[in-house]
Symmetry: C2
Subunit: 178 residues, 2 copies
């Protein structure tokens, strides 16, 4: 299966795509989206368009998103929520189910320690996925989220949810209209 | 011109569509979206789908969104940001430019008082738009945002931004890909 990991942010949104087959993990793509301009709506649209492009290129079966539990202040939290939604909706609009993990869950899954530093996460990710090129911490975090979901799936402890929008619409046709 | 006003919220997202012609204002549609279920991503997709349906039905020229500056706590702010993005992206994906107004700007525009109560806003909206049916405060707030944008456009003081996604893509073809 192919998992798209996303580490959303209003300034930088990291993404990483991992193909998981019996016993092996292969990175298909990873990098970061850096929206430009001052118009908030158009910045979101850039995240949405770029994540959609990654979905088109790599055809993942699932999308795992990092869901921080706090930010510096209320405005940062608002912007973070917007960036998350831009990425989530890109996946849902392409019928890719979305699951969420906290940073602690991701760190614990990848390093064994829920309080690991970013450097420790990067060290493990690099080793586990045989990465040679450093494409920034946000891309590394995104790969970590994807890897976390892959591990959880393998052990039967994946995050709940992850229903596709198509199946939701099929089961709830009345919920799609206002 | 036709303006879609949105008052986004993770529990209830109000919408109101106003057609403005020389000297007259006519409400085309108003109501509220109440996403169901516990899956956060699917709740966002419901907001996105319902707002898209309103856009398809009423073909607005612009979308004005209420942008609160604080919420009860960080998690509320995150959820609010997500709901905002779901509505904004619905508009942008249909090439409808998005502008944002603070609650104070909306209240001031509609009632003349930036600190007006919800009841005062509702009273003015009802009177100005000759509404007979109360469809909830969120729908009324959404109409207020739409009316605020219409007033501002009329007086040449509309919120900045409001570029369509199509024109952004045309001017920045390299920003659409990751």
């Amino acid at each position: 299966m192919i998992v798209l990991g996303i580490d959303p942010g209003s300034r930088i949104t990291g993404y990483g795509v991992i193909e998981i087959t019996a016993g092996t993990q292969r990175v298909l793509d990873y990098g970061a989206v850096r929206p430009q301009g001052k118009d908030h709506a158009l910045r979101l649209a850039q995240i949405h368009a770029a994540v959609t492009q990654v979905l088109v290129d790599t055809q993942p079966d699932a999308c795992a998103i990092e869901m921080p539990v706090y930010a510096q202040n209320a405005q940062s939290m608002l912007k973070l929520g917007r960036a998350q939604a831009a990425a989530m909706l890109a996946a849902l609009n392409r019928q890719v189910p979305v699951v969420e993990y906290t940073p602690k869950e991701v760190k614990k899954s990848v390093t064994g320690n829920g309080n690991a530093t970013k450097a420790q996460v990067w060290y493990m990710i690099k080793k586990m996925l045989a990465l040679e090129e450093d494409r920034g911490l946000d891309a590394a975090d995104a790969l970590a989220v994807g890897l976390c979901h892959a591990h959880r799936l393998g052990s039967g402890h994946a995050a709940k949810g992850g229903k596709s929008w198509a199946s939701f619409v099929r089961d709830n046709p009345d919920r799609v209209r206002p």
